[in-house]
């Protein structure tokens, strides 16, 4: 495959199937960040000399890339953060903490990532809100019917991943947004797993908030985005106050803040990271999000078809429209299987994948997760499946 040469990590003689944890990075993204540090490593928002001016240009170019990539209405709707986790906490603490009332209900599911659970738990603890769970169907999917059934007059927030990191199901976000808004409910979408793997269009989905992390989409660690509709972000209190985001502050009563998006980006930002993120977005656009989705679906089908023929393998998410396959080897603890695979330089994730409350729904407390990316290949999958065929061999070699 043509793309493989672009990724230095793919020359390392490993099979990398842990793309949901973090993706690999193309050389172009790495070079773009090195270029900043080597050739124009000044601070942003200063612009008094050429290289500092260039920083501002590159930084804002990255924002433009993202605005276009997610089809936001304007730059004001795209805030750079340290990642999906920070974005979700900003939404909960900066926006919702000011408007929720005791008794308000927050709807989530048991397959959410900890980062889309704990900020809501805190809100519930601090303000007397109630957390309710939208039931999952037998495939662990969210259905419109179950969302409808879970909504009450007290529902204020629905917070859902577009694609979950354990089950890999794609939620009907556009329909949920419509239903939520008909009922005066805010919809917060955790796009950490989806933004890298499918086309996401803010205006089409019509969500209120959407968050994602650069490192899961070919970009660097430590950068992410908080997207929010402009009229909502206007009311999001900055958690951080400080340099870069203020106009003037003569005394505590007279603090004037800048406009969006800068108002929500206090302090020196992760400049190299943001610029690298912009390059990653360019790369994704160049490959094409439709092509990426299609390729990953194909790879998943290819893998599942082979795994279902192995009697000692139980696939937990037979149906899923993403690159995620979660399974167990009958009678062997998932972590032991991962250690066995590691001996053959195969990187997979074992455990509960940060969705600690999912076990209430599946009865399975842990599993092995393969998460495929468009740069994985059929031959890698063949090698992987071959390693799993013989259960005795796994038992022999797992320690």
């Amino acid at each position: 495959m043509v793309f493989r040469e672009d990724f230095p990590m793919l020359n390392k003689d490993i099979i990398y199937f842990d793309n949901s944890a973090t993706s690999l990075k193309p050389k172009k993204v790495i070079d773009k960040m090195v270029d900043y540090y080597e050739n124009y490593g000044a601070n942003a928002h200063r612009g008094d000399y050429d290289i500092s001016y260039k920083v501002d240009i590159e930084y804002e170019n990255a924002r433009d890339e993202i605005v276009e990539f997610i089809n936001a209405k304007s730059k004001e709707e795209v805030i750079f953060t340290s990642g999906a986790t920070e974005s979700l906490n900003m939404i909960a603490q900066g926006f919702f903490a000011n408007i929720v009332e005791a008794g308000d209900e927050i709807l989530i599911t048991t397959s959410e990532h900890a980062s889309n659970v704990l900020p809501w738990f805190r809100l519930a603890n601090d303000y007397g809100c109630v957390i309710n769970f939208i039931p999952l169907d037998e495939n662990l999917h969210v259905t419109m019917e179950n969302v409808k059934k879970s909504i009450t007059p007290k529902t204020k927030i629905i917070a859902l991943a577009q694609i979950t990191n354990v089950v890999g199901d794609v939620r009907p976000i556009k329909e949920i947004a419509k239903l939520a808004h008909e009922n005066n409910i805010f919809l917060v979408v955790d796009g950490a797993q989806s933004a890298a793997h499918m086309k996401v269009d803010m205006q089409d989905l019509d969500v209120d908030f959407f968050v994602f992390s650069a490192h899961k989409m070919l970009g660097p660690t430590g950068v992410g985005v908080l997207y929010g509709k402009k009229e909502l972000l206007e009311n999001l209190e900055p958690i951080n106050l400080g340099g870069g985001m203020n106009e003037s502050f003569d005394n505590p009563k007279e603090i004037y803040l800048k406009d969006l998006p800068t108002r929500l980006e206090a302090g020196t930002p992760n400049i190299a990271g943001v610029i690298g993120f912009g390059e990653a977005i360019k790369y994704l656009k160049n490959v094409g999000m439709e092509q990426i989705s299609e390729r990953e679906r194909h790879l998943r089908e290819y893998l599942v078809e082979k795994l279902v023929r192995i009697p000692h393998i139980d696939i937990i998410n037979l149906e899923a429209d993403s690159g995620i396959v979660t399974f167990n080897v009958d009678g062997i603890f998932s972590q032991d299987v991962a250690y066995y695979l590691n001996k053959y330089n195969v990187c997979v994730r074992a455990g509960n994948h940060c969705a600690k409350i999912l076990k209430n729904s599946t009865g399975v407390t842990n599993s092995i997760r393969v998460s495929l990316s468009f740069y994985n290949t059929e031959s890698e999958i063949d090698e992987f499946v071959e390693l799993l065929k013989n259960k005795e061999k796994i038992m022999e070699e797992m320690i």
Binding site: F333, D336, G351, N352, N366, I399
Partner: protein, 136 residues
């Protein structure tokens, strides 16, 4: 038996693996942050002696077998001897000097010292150490 066989045997037929509800036992939970190894250690201490020690829970082969060997080795020791044993085990994993003969079968984990499995081998010890330190 080679090391692997010892580990596998303690994994497939762990010793002292039972939950102890009785008040006479002190219970301590121990888990790995990176994965979901999750064990409870139960120790019954009388007159500074370990009268009985068991464990229960769900964990990988290394953690389960390590708990099995640990409970076998700690049983009927004084609290002081127990802590001494644990100290030796810790030293082995951290590549410090240790006394092989005190550790008995537990030396099979010597080769986990530079790997992520080190935390698995240590897991049950962490809980046992906490209980014993409170009862010295």
């Amino acid at each position: 038996m080679d090391k692997r066989e010892i580990i596998l045997q303690h994994y497939s037929k762990p010793q002292n693996k039972k939950r102890m509800e009785s008040e006479e036992y002190t219970k301590e939970n121990t888990r790995n942050s990176s994965c979901i190894d999750n064990l409870d250690i139960y120790i019954k201490i009388k007159d500074s002696y370990i009268e009985d020690i068991t464990f229960d829970g769900e964990a990988c082969a290394i953690s389960i077998s390590s708990a099995s060997i640990m409970t076998k080795n700690l049983n009927k020791k004084s609290v002081r001897e127990g802590l001494e044993y644990i100290k030796n085990f810790e030293n082995m994993l951290n590549e410090k000097e240790y006394e092989q003969n005190i550790l008995k079968e537990a030396i099979v984990y010597e080769n986990t010292k530079n790997t992520s499995r080190k935390t698995c081998a240590w897991l049950p010890y962490d809980a046992a150490k906490k209980i014993l330190e409170k009862n010295i």
